[in-house]
Symmetry: C2
Subunit: 256 residues, 2 copies
Amino acid sequence: MELFAVADIPEVTPGDDLASLIRERVDLRPDDVVCVASTVVSKAEGRIADLDDYPAGPRAREIADHLSDLEDREKDPRFAQAVLEESVEIIMESPFLLTETRFGHVGVNAGIDRSNVPDGDLLLLPKRPSESAARIQTELPADQVIVTDTCGRPFRYGQRGVAIGWDGMPASRDWRGQVDRDGREMGVTVQNVIDELAAAANLVAGEGNGGTPVVVVRGFEFGDLPGSQNHFRDLDGDYVRQALRGWSHSPTEGEA
Amino acid sequence: MELFAVADIPEVTPGDDLASLIRERVDLRPDDVVCVASTVVSKAEGRIADLDDYPAGPRAREIADHLSDLEDREKDPRFAQAVLEESVEIIMESPFLLTETRFGHVGVNAGIDRSNVPDGDLLLLPKRPSESAARIQTELPADQVIVTDTCGRPFRYGQRGVAIGWDGMPASRDWRGQVDRDGREMGVTVQNVIDELAAAANLVAGEGNGGTPVVVVRGFEFGDLPGSQNHFRDLDGDYVRQALRGWSHSPTEGEA
């Protein structure tokens, strides 16, 4: 398996045809997986906004006030309003705003980016990233497209590449019922391959000035195992999310 | 960047010299990252145990009873005892046992595997996986070694490759202070590269019968950014873990 970044993708602006920008710069094969950073998908789709577009309601003001107290620096309630409008549920309000976006992804600040925005204050995530992936895929010789983002996670430090949208492949590979060398059923159950592909792509993508937002994974073999489209957990099987509901963070001495 | 599995690693047994098993099968280069599945590290280190080695104490019996009720099938209290003995803290007791292992990793059942064990009931994780990585690295021409496992995570379905031990490289890459194309400070902060490398390796490793426990990552460039050895979160910055402390799962109708 081989991964390489597509060189010289120019700054993307609203209305740009991402698929042609990619196609013109790389010879793709049908079994390639093309990983596209959500930042450029959002820019092409014009998901750029200004803080003034989000006059803060009472809930946003309450959240921003609380976070301002906690961090002892002013938080913009319009930013909280933007997060609320991109979300269907607030999972955690402090010490940061963790929500479920309208398309099912759980992330800090609904994934809204305040860097990387040439003509506005905010870069919102694509509205429906799997539909974005499908639109891009249709215009590419490669059969699989993943829209990637980076996010943190509990228990483990730092951020890693994750998939927020995908097309042309299953999200996960199902090992259930497979046996090990001694004929026992295996401990591993379902492997989330699109997150793993996004993580792999992030290793060669870079960020910032040297950022290369499109990475090709060549030679990944899904194999014969059954696949499924399960990617974002349902509340039922998500005990951490259940625990976070109703939990309220009490700042420790160091934070206050 | 290129990834390939090392072919024909034989079944590993206690006392085996993993580094020579690898060295004999692949020409490594100094900048290769060698990802070794914890299963074979554990086998080489003799981390195989029987349930009879863990006579259950009252706490293990209590946990097993509770889980047996929940799932309506008998849970072995000796297994719960093994998990307790491998752990420093129980983070969640039900509907599954989530603990922090002695080396800082948070995982279900302390990562104890009940498949993949030829001569015993249980395969425990390596005692100190970063020390295992260092021991293997010393005997290899490659400068970086990662010991990998797979685990699930909140909010997102399925398991993915993760690093539980590493040597010869920083765990993460620090982008703080880097600016985007427009000179704004970037949203991304710290990238956990060893988890991303483990996830990438898991895409080519396979599991079970066709399992290839050693994967080489060639051509990964850490680059000039500062690195850090932060990998497992401290409780202080881990709000999910704080929320899980003291939370108790109430089974819904479907589960009971």
